[in-house]
């Protein structure tokens, strides 16, 4: 897929809408295996992202990614703040290095950054379990809404090894990971932003 400034802004807007709509659900997911704040964290962060975009009107995709990075890093906190922040920072790095990078390469940079920061592997029941298959499918030009949905669902039977959910051990089994769900919203929004 291709990404440019307009699509990027639309992506963030769509992502924000989905986050605000699913705020309570995300917090609910974060209740049995976390600390009931993922909805709040993402909602606060994306609200600020939209405000920042409106206030600063970034004039390039690079400027947009930079703005999203710094806003998420400075407004979210918790685990998701540095992770989503790192993701956009990783994407930004690739784009900066080579302005003509394909979008799947850029997203791969995001995933690498998440893993560098959070040390989670595939199967640890984190957002990585959505990012990894999404990036792979994109590389194979096979990314669809179904792929994303399946990736989220697949976190359910896993036992958490990273993040707060790891503290509940076996009892994390049977629950969808909240960060995986919000990442799914991110990629659904990305697909929708392009569809338009």
């Amino acid at each position: 897929m291709n990404m440019d400034l307009q699509t990027g802004i639309r992506w963030m807007e769509l992502f924000n809408e989905d986050i605000q709509q699913n705020k309570d659900y995300l917090t609910q997911l974060d209740t049995p295996i976390g600390d009931s704040d993922h909805g709040n964290n993402m909602s606060r962060g994306m609200d600020q992202v939209i405000q920042a975009i409106e206030a600063e009107s970034p004039d390039s995709l690079e400027a947009l990614l930079k703005l999203v990075t710094s806003t998420l890093l400075s407004k979210v906190g918790g685990a998701s703040g540095p992770l989503y922040g790192s993701a956009f920072m990783g994407m930004l790095k690739i784009l900066k290095g080579d302005n003509t990078s394909s979008w799947d390469k850029v997203l791969r940079g995001g995933l690498d950054s998440i893993q560098k920061r959070g040390k989670a592997e595939v199967g640890d029941k984190t957002m990585v379990d959505v990012w990894a298959p999404v990036v792979k499918s994109l590389e194979n030009k096979q990314l669809t809404h179904v792929v994303i949905e399946e990736a989220v669902e697949a976190t359910k039977p896993l036992k958490a090894k990273k993040g707060r959910a790891s503290y509940v051990g076996d009892r994390s089994i049977g629950h969808i990971d909240p960060g995986a769900y919000s990442s799914a919203l991110l990629f659904q929004a990305m697909l929708k932003s392009e569809e338009k």
């Binding site: 976390g34 606060r44 890093l73 400075s74 407004k75 906190g77 918790g78 703040g81 540095p82 920061r117």
Partner: protein, 327 residues
């Protein structure tokens, strides 16, 4: 859950303001941040910074002051503060000898503090840190995030704060911290769950006569639910879990920590039972803290922390006077 508050989104900000007006001799706020800084004069010593999500009051700002923390960073409720805030705290705490970070072992805290540390180092501030993971409730933690940091963190604040006040170097403090943390073990129990401001439901719900062992300080569920037992039996369960962690030395400092909604009367009854049980095992308690130190909003319950007094410096540090709101 009824709460005395205004807008849940402003609760941390308003709390900090309230804290500052009430204790303006001791602390000040770094304007437009969640950072609380001590008013004590700068003397070129190592700065000690702690922090984390809010909702654990008096932690962490209650331990800011001469002889303890240089600054504390308050995140949103149960949410680690962001790297830029932590960086700012590092800057205000820096007196030229470097800054030491006390981090509780949560993904979020570690990542945000780590990023702040990287940013500070880019600005040529020497930063070292320790991760506190005193909660023994989490089993099977080898291949995961590990154990949580809970009330034992207060001992780390006090002992490292004293070391800094004594003029120890950042390397010495790092070494001290690495030896200290494995000597601190905690475990908690809850009579109720906890509801974050604005949330529509509690983290978990317990029956009318039910308790849960091993809960965390963010409403994380624990390891076992059962019928409420007499205080003595509760103390025995917690002490047995803790005892497995120690071997030779039998001298301890203890924190009996109320989780926010537990009356002092119950905390003292429990203290009495802990003492009885320790006496039975011929373990001595040389130092006590009883009260609300590391809370979880309005949760009813308590935690028990043992610090094995391996090093005489620990008692010296714990006994030294400080000027803080809550030690």
């Amino acid at each position: 859950m009824k709460k005395i508050m205004n807008d849940p989104n402003e609760i941390v900000d308003e709390m900090i303001e309230g804290m500052i007006v009430a204790h303006s001799q001791l602390i000040q706020r770094v304007p437009e941040t969640g950072i609380i800084q001590r008013r004590a004069e700068k003397t070129g010593k190592v700065g000690i910074v702690s922090g984390g999500g809010s909702g654990h009051e008096p932690a962490h700002a209650g331990f800011v002051g001469e002889g303890m923390l240089s600054a504390a960073v308050c995140g949103a409720v149960f949410t680690s503060p962001t790297p830029d805030q932590i960086l700012e705290a590092i800057k205000v705490a820096d007196e030229g000898a470097g800054v030491f970070l006390i981090i509780k072992n949560y993904s979020g805290d570690i990542m945000n503090f780590e990023m702040a540390q990287e940013l500070a180092e880019m600005e040529d501030i020497e930063v070292e840190s320790i991760v506190v993971d005193d909660d023994v409730a989490v089993e099977d933690s080898i291949f995961t995030q590990g154990k949580r940091g809970v009330a034992g963190t207060i001992f780390v604040h006090k002992i490292l704060g004293y070391a800094a006040q004594q003029g120890k170097s950042i390397k010495e403090i790092k070494k001290l911290a690495e030896e200290l943390v494995p000597n601190i073990k905690s475990i908690g129990l809850a009579l109720t769950g906890v509801t974050t401001p604005g949330a529509s439901q509690a983290s978990f719900t317990l029956g009318e006569n039910e308790i849960e062992y091993g809960v965390g300080i963010h409403g994380e569920p624990g390891y076992r639910r059962e019928k409420l037992q007499p205080s003595y039996d509760l103390a025995e369960e917690l002490l047995t879990k803790l005892a497995e962690e120690f071997d030779v030395t039998r001298r301890f400092a203890v924190i009996i920590n109320g989780l926010g909604g537990t009356p002092l009367m119950e905390q003292y009854v429990f203290t009495n039972d802990v003492k009885k049980l320790m006496d039975k095992d011929e373990w001595s308690i040389d130092f006590y803290k009883v009260g609300n130190f590391m809370t979880s909003l309005e949760m009813q319950g308590l935690s028990l922390t043992l610090l094995c007094l391996e090093d005489d410096f620990y008692m010296e540090a714990l006994s030294a006077p400080v000027e803080t709101i809550s030690w």
